[in-house]
Assembly symmetry: C2
Homo-oligomer: 514 residues x 2
């Protein structure tokens, strides 16, 4: 589907090489074994009774503890809907208010790509993987160094993501630290993201006052405000709370601006178990759910049915040091548990998975990224954020890891797809032929050949050679292969994905660093 | 619990280093956050209806296709129980016979360690991870080479496994290729395994005639036949079928000998989807289940209630080349699907997971090992074989990967343990204190401190430092750290785990290479 085809071996006639070549030719989209939006949900970390206990505790927390620090506009919106402002300045939420707003909240959210082929349908347990985060470093793999991230890095990450089948959206993954002015940073972030990919983009704004200018640029990209509002292709990652149980005043105001501008919001509660959230995993989920429910009330009191993602993103502390450990098993459980709460509410949900604590794309990074991404997918998490490229517990972004993550996520998506049990697949016809009449094996059986491309997925970079073949081809190094694929992708993506007139107009109106 | 304690930082008084030291001191066994035999089953790759369809198809296959090539003794045992020998030489199994034998089959199997602390209770969805396989190479990581495996390698792998908390049993993982005579190979395999670890050992015999001599040695190790029969600490990995649907004559005879000798058997059906098993994952499971059900009939017709593990081990082909791909997502699904069938039958079950296709312990190996091990654990697989150290789709065993696998499996076990939802963990008391009265964070809260060791698990080798700390300590390389841990373990394990008199007697009776 995407440009990069250099990976595929050249087709030769006959023999195994020819068979390999044929089997690796691109497949029609409807035949591909995996795609965006496959349905998970085969894994339930919580029993139904425990889901209810968490729900009840969250309602209790909203009713009795509530949230402090709402901005004046938020106080007006929330109390107008029936929330109560206490003498202690905290806003408390009667359970009936929460339940009413849950029934109003939009369930069938589609996050749009600039190209509709990349639209993300967040209904049910459909699973999508993408980038996210605010890494301040890029992992320079060749020099084994962490260096400051730049606007060019962000653009590169967007371009690479655009070429990767198994990375479905591009949320700003790293900070353009070379852009000094904060407004210009927000502008250049959007430019780099949308210039690099036509997949759905997520971003945040460093100040409420920046929204208007950024919307101006998005209208230019969309071809006018009406076109933007018809298909908003950027969502606002909004940290509207500072856990535990406090609104983030400025972010709330930014959220209000975004809602008025027709931008979907990600209601992001990013507590850290053992630090800004309770240490027991279940209570960390309770707090995240309570905070996001407050966000649901906020959004729907202001604009009923406005598209919002329930963004319970509880993180984990290494309790020995207090430092974050995004690569831990506890993190994988938290995100999967949250996914189950999203299913319970029937709301589109998102959480973080795929974070590595490792500084480099090594074996540790492989297992850290795989465990949480697998559990997120199997639990039916609609939006798996930070799923690729993230190292050092979100402090570093690694382009080679992003490339390798495409293979990792392809494999995970195959697992999410699951085991097809159909009339055909439990028919004993092939077994009968092979055992009673045939050659005693299934190689070359028509059933085998027909499933080769549609049921089995093959990695782009990962190696499946035998030790002998591997030695013969010079013992290729995984990281070197990832670097090569990265370079091929970047070489083939020669300019921003804007038409030249729009690009010129944007550059006229704003200070674009790229 | 085990000897190796050098990993733990030295205790210093006060400050963060002191806190880190305290929190990494060994925990009492009942307080450890993870242990052998945690219950999985939160993940169900198959719907209940599809489990039944697979079961019905397997019964149908047994009734209409049956298995060929039973040895004369097997024909007698099976037809004596009610199976039918056809004119085509195939043995077919009426469904009532299978159902009868399922009700006779032993459900509550305990595979014993030589040290009872390592006993494995295979009831319910209890999960255990261990080694297995027959690798013919050892990965020489420092020279980036595959070299021939030896008896010493097997002994080293056993000794390392003995020191790893999260590797629960040691099935022969590699072939002692330096032992030329086949009987001596079987003897030396047992010697190396049992000499290296007192955890449960699994092995196979290359010829039925070797069982008697090997039993002689096991009786010596146990302290007599009676002691052996009371606590058999070795099980027989028995490939009693050659898929599709053929008995392996010699292995069946070996199995009969082992059963008479009181040795538990692993009924191993190792088809390869797309080659010796059907390409559709569901039908590959059908065939494996059918073959293992035939094994259940065989075992229980001969010795009702003899301990046996239902070893559906379907593997996966890369259909482009026909080569095995143990690291694939399809493999992870097959093993998890099999685990669900074991649950359905209520029988102790085993399958393969954790195999890497990668030749080295790199990022690819990390994700390949993690995805299938995670899914195996969450699906409640009792015995997860080949879970650590296996590379090149079982052709190479890597000691450093075994060491790293201990961290990987610790993390997976944490996920299998799941999210505790208790009265305490959904109590809002801590949240109330922190938000309404307290410091606004949970750091240092008594609840946080109390959960530090019992709810959170910390890796032994994997790195969680910040980029700054990581640079300060010289950017440690994961593989170098694994080599160091491996060497520490091997240095501390100075002699075989036999009392000197027994060791001398064994060496007197057999040609021991070590």
């Amino acid at each position: 589907m995407d440009a990069e085809t250099v990976d595929k071996p050249k087709r030769r006639s006959g023999g195994r090489a020819g068979r390999v070549a044929v089997r690796t030719a691109p497949l029609a989209d409807n035949l591909r074994p995996v795609r965006a939006g496959m349905s998970g949900g085969q894994y339930s970390p919580l029993s139904e009774a425990n889901v209810l206990r968490i729900h009840e505790a969250a309602l209790d927390a909203l009713e009795t503890i509530g949230l402090s620090q709402a901005p004046p506009s938020g106080v007006e919106i929330l109390t107008g809907a029936g929330a109560l402002l206490g003498e202690d300045g905290r806003i408390r939420f009667p359970r009936a208010l929460v339940e009413d707003m849950l029934s109003v909240a939009k369930k069938d959210v589609v996050l749009m790509g600039r190209d509709p082929v990349h639209d993300l349908d967040l209904s049910g347990t459909r699973v999508h993987y993408g980038t996210a985060g605010a890494a301040v470093h890029v992992v320079d793999i060749e020099n084994r160094e962490y260096r400051e991230s730049t606007a060019q890095d962000l653009y590169d990450a967007a371009r690479i993501t655009h070429a990767l089948d198994n990375v479905h959206f591009f949320q700003r993954a790293l900070v353009a630290r070379d852009v000094v002015d904060n407004f210009e940073m927000d502008i250049n972030t959007l430019y780099a993201c949308c210039g690099g990919t036509s997949k759905h983009v997520g971003t945040s704004f460093s100040d409420p006052s920046h929204v208007a200018g950024c919307m101006e640029m998005l209208h230019m990209i969309a071809g006018g405000e009406e076109a933007w509002r018809a298909r908003p292709f950027v969502s606002n990652t909004n940290c509207f709370v500072v856990p535990p149980m406090k609104f983030a005043e400025e972010s709330c105001i930014t959220m209000e601006h975004c809602i008025r501008a027709g931008m979907p919001v990600l209601l992001l509660s990013a507590g850290q178990a053992g630090a800004t959230a309770p240490a027991p995993l279940a209570t960390a989920i309770v707090q995240a759910v309570a905070e996001c429910l407050a966000g649901v009330v906020y959004v729907n009191a202001m604009a009923p049915g406005h598209p919002a993602v329930f963004g319970t993103w509880p993180f984990v502390s290494d309790l020995r040091t207090g430092a974050m450990s995004g690569g831990s098993g506890e993190q994988a459980l938290l995100s999967a548990g949250c996914a189950q709460m999203h299913r319970f509410y029937g709301l589109p949900g998102g959480a973080a998975a795929g974070i590595a604590d490792s500084k480099l794309p090594d074996m540790q990074a492989g297992w850290e990224q795989a465990i949480s991404n697998t559990m997120a997918g199997l639990s039916g998490l609609n939006m798996v954020y930070e799923a690729v490229g993230m190292h050092a517990s979100l402090l570093g972004f690694c382009m080679e890891s992003l490339v390798l993550g495409d293979d990792l996520l392809g494999q995970v998506l195959r697992c999410v797809r699951g085991i097809d049990v159909t009339e055909d697949s439990v028919s004993l016809e092939a077994m009968r032929q092979v055992c009673l009449e045939g050659p005693g094996h299934y190689l070359g059986h028509p059933q085998t050949l027909s499933l080769m491309q549609t049921e089995y997925i093959y990695p782009a970079v990962a190696d499946r050679t035998s030790p002998k073949e591997w030695a013969e081809i010079g013992k290729p190094d995984l990281i070197q292969k990832a670097i090569a694929r990265k370079n091929r992708i970047l070489e083939q993506s020669t300019k921003p994905l804007f038409d030249p007139a729009t690009d010129a107009a944007i550059r006229e109106a704003f200070n674009i660093y790229l």
